[in-house]
Subunit: 335 residues, 4 copies
């Protein structure tokens, strides 16, 4: 079989050739930190993409992107409403508590790791409006969600409307935002809706080490610039991060990569039928199967994570080979 | 003149070819975060280099390296003794306050931005041993210092001895540690002395985006691993950072690069004579000169920063061209 | 009716005469902060009471007591396991996030707001032992619980045994610890079990402004002394707080007061029958009743809080008049 | 001699009879926390006193007052400019680092522990306006200063004007504000100037355990209310703190007490002549004298602190007996 057929995660996939080219072109010295030409051009590049004014900061991880964005919106005595399965709650090692100086996460529920206005209301309406209980300052949703489900533009609009009504800022964790846009077939602007900030992920989608924090409210970016430095995330050779972002946006590499990963996921999904725990709308599949079935798949060379005792998670990537996706689909169908 | 003759800083210099090679070799997928083979091999690699057991974590910036190291040694209600010109005090945007949860920096003085046991005692002896005054928990020194001066092994030993006596941990900020080792002509182990942790810089010396935190006390590394994730510094494609560190250590690239930069600095230093504000022991020169003289130099194509009203700072790098160093030396001599 | 018959809370009740006497006796100047004779005598006083060595700090609120105790046990990157209805989660305005520098609360479930080893395991066993998920460092239980239920000595022993096994510290929030001891009829030492620290409440039980943090591990107290000052909780006329604690312990005032409050609660409880939502084991009653029934009670002069839409909470205090308790019992019975 | 003649500090002095009366009158139950009538009446009471709208919060210590005030003005990535001898720098156990989440203190110099516009400019003008250096967000001055010197209204106006120009908030630490007003003979409003908040001290001046944070900008008070609870400083029987403040303001007790203490200080000052290190403008005297002279004074029954090797600090209080002040004056004169 040679190379194992990896469906473990997109987070360690190889780097896209266009990114490599851009990195090498960026080697010529330029001003340090974010004073280089490529960093300076990011605002305009993303403003074009989102069709509204953006202020954009690069950082090296999604965790830093999420937490710097939220730290610009939430005071230390406040809270962020998020899904109980949200990455910021489950997988960031307590980074929100660190970056937000002890602010709280208020956990809400919802199918497919998606929030709804009702779910948000159920979480915050019982909070007494007094100093004894921590008050929400922001909502954070994940597009596509931790279970690979996408918010439709009207769903985000409804959440944003509730947020505005309650005086809450809105953050979108877009670790797999490209996959959501590819699935929805809408503009990036429609896929993020009237959010205040977006953590726009590129690393899972072919980048090496650069994510973008896209602020739709420039005042928030001004705070985040100080906080990024203070968090040790202002790299001195920042031009190498900016270059990655430009390379991914140029010629729609980001979108093509996501479409490829999504298509591979769809191919596998068709073979899963009733086994699917969530609709497959991005590049993740959560598939019911027994331990014995997982052994069978692993024996055939497929790499993936268990998802609890009775399921497996498969993740496709920008570089998943068609034949590997097909092989996995057949193997699942044959179980 | 074509390419400007840059002596602005080493922090934005190009990336060394060996690092580029290593990055590309690292492209094949491996486990995410620090689960890859290259990350796992760092402890052994650095233990060999320092001739004692080390636990090593990669991070993307010197600020993160310094602050994660210090956060493993200092409780939030404690303090770090450092020079009043230390990078952690002057140029890290308050990162120590963030990472150490409000712990304080106690500022001491000393020639060439170097501390001495006397200077440390002068800073901490007046502190009453009660809960009203913040107590020191650690000392941080910079090797080479912010003014390009190197601690001799016996100087570090004396500081370490005082630190041990007072129950203080010892951290070494080695953003330009390679330059110090190259200057001192001693082993890396002797250049860091009996410190508890070293921020070992590679980015200024030919790396792209990887610094090493070298813990000589493994218990501190265990804490730092959690704190690194919590700070959003655990990159998912960590193999690209580990690869840079291996490439720099392999075949003494780090030392050769530093020797080159130091030699260029010495060439210029010889031309500066009485103008030098500090002995030149690494790759930085602080040179008295008037605004008019600086204009002259800039007109001749040299790039550098003003250092206050009456001086200039020149920094050489691993890739400073011999002819550029020579040209600057001549130009300064001709002033 | 004259004075309203208050069952709103014990937290605003009058101050016990013995406390008044002690306050006035403390007026003569003594050393500031905790340097006075009364503060210095606390360790011995509480060591006698708990029959093991204690280090005791006074503070002005239960929130400060809980959070200073926990801050001595939990690192900023760790977590505290507590009940989802715990005071530290619900009613301290995010103080744990502040004092613990962003550490997390891991919420567990259980009848009567009490934890059990099984409930703790259910909360922490799913946590992967890696840096991506926040690891528990301590358990906090409330004696008597937020629903007025008491842990039996063997229940605490079982929790402590699990905590020790997992390397977790154990904290007891004893805002109503006196009521628990009065109910259990055991020694204070048995009612707190092998905990590392106890927030021993006196304010709800006849004090004015002093709670005790009782450390059974003196090393924790050493940290807490610095943290108390750092939190602005080291009062300069600390002798007035120490005096309150001595007055409450002297002649078992604390226990007599709690017995009185508990007896009043029992009198009312007997009239509530099936209406009780939780067993009445301290001085709080959670009583099912309709809005109309609550109106009836209020019209008759009883003060209390609604508990959701279908219940009321009644709290008795050290100074609840027998006739008021009797009147409420009759009124409830007559509903 | 009986009672020792204490000039150690005003911070542990006895409680004024008017405060005792008020405490006892406050014993009747009222709403908990700050929901009682006395707490609710504070805004109006202090608005009358300062002749402009105030929002007032009680807290138990000056450290809490200073830090809650500053935390409402300064973001975690910012800094406070203060004198290098300021109480917040020297004697609050790092509380500003805790409450301000790692924000920095920028130390300035000046005679008598007083700041001036020039001193502030000297401290902040060298700060580069970039993210690498921590930017000032507020100025804090102490009225009367840590060396017992008072700012004249025009001095505060000049500082406030600079602060406004630079976008900095202005905080006044008024631990001994009453002594300053008594010395200046101006209105309280003139003695605080156009500050944003004042920590108005009462404990050193005859109170037991209540200080006032006076916000002249109500928006800051709204933040501080949440932060006070979050810091564990919202006492449940808050009426006892409010009562102390009312008692001190009523009938100018605060001013009479301060006048008495100041007069005692003046009596002693007249005997000190050239020995005085700072002008005596409040109730503290810093007096040059040898160790032998201090022994002599102590042998005669006077209690006081050494101030370094060659001086003594004497502090008078609201209850310093005239004969004691006279005796000390004579004893100093006789040295």
């Amino acid at each position: 079989m040679g190379v194992p057929m990896l469906f473990l995660s997109d987070n360690a996939a190889s780097v896209h050739p266009a990114v490599w080219d851009a990195l090498q072109s960026a080697d010529a010295p330029d001003s340090p930190y974010d004073g280089d030409a490529a960093s300076a051009a990011l605002d305009e590049r993303f403003s074009d993409l989102f069709e509204r004014p953006c202020a954009v900061l690069w950082v090296a991880t999604g965790t830093a992107a999420n937490c710097l964005a939220l730290a610009s919106m939430v005071q230390p005595h406040g809270a962020v409403v998020c899904h109980e399965e949200a990455h910021i709650e489950m997988d960031e090692g307590g980074a929100p508590g660190f970056y937000l100086h002890g602010a709280k996460l208020i956990l809400a529920q919802g199918e497919g790791a998606k929030l709804s206005p009702d779910a948000i209301r159920a979480a915050i309406d019982p909070i007494r409006d007094d100093v004894h209980q921590v008050q929400p300052h922001a909502v954070s949703i994940t597009q596509a969600s931790e279970y690979g489900c996408c918010y439709r533009p009207e769903e985000i609009a409804a959440i944003a409307s509730l947020a505005r009504q309650r005086g809450l800022a809105l953050h979108v964790d877009g670790a797999r935002f490209a996959n959501a846009v590819a699935f929805l077939g809408c503009t990036p602007g429609d896929a993020v809706g009237p959010a205040d900030a977006l953590s726009f992920g590129f690393i899972k989608n072919g980048g090496m080490s650069a994510e973008a924090i896209v602020f739709f409210d420039p005042a928030l970016a001004d705070v985040a610039r100080y906080r990024r430095k203070r968090a040790g995330h202002l790299q001195s050779k920042g031009r190498f991060l900016a270059a990655q972002l430009h390379a991914m946006i140029e010629d729609d590499v980001w979108l093509d990569n996501a479409r490829h990963a999504n298509a591979a996921a769809q191919e596998i999904a068709r073979a899963c039928g009733e086994r699917l725990m969530h609709p497959v709308e991005a590049n993740e599949l959560f598939v019911r199967c027994t331990a014995a079935e997982r052994d069978t798949l692993r024996a055939r060379g497929f790499g993936f994570y268990d998802w609890g005792a009775d399921a497996a998670r498969f993740v496709t990537a920008w570089n998943t080979r068609d034949e590997d996706a097909r092989a996995l689909a057949q193997a699942v169908a044959a179980l």
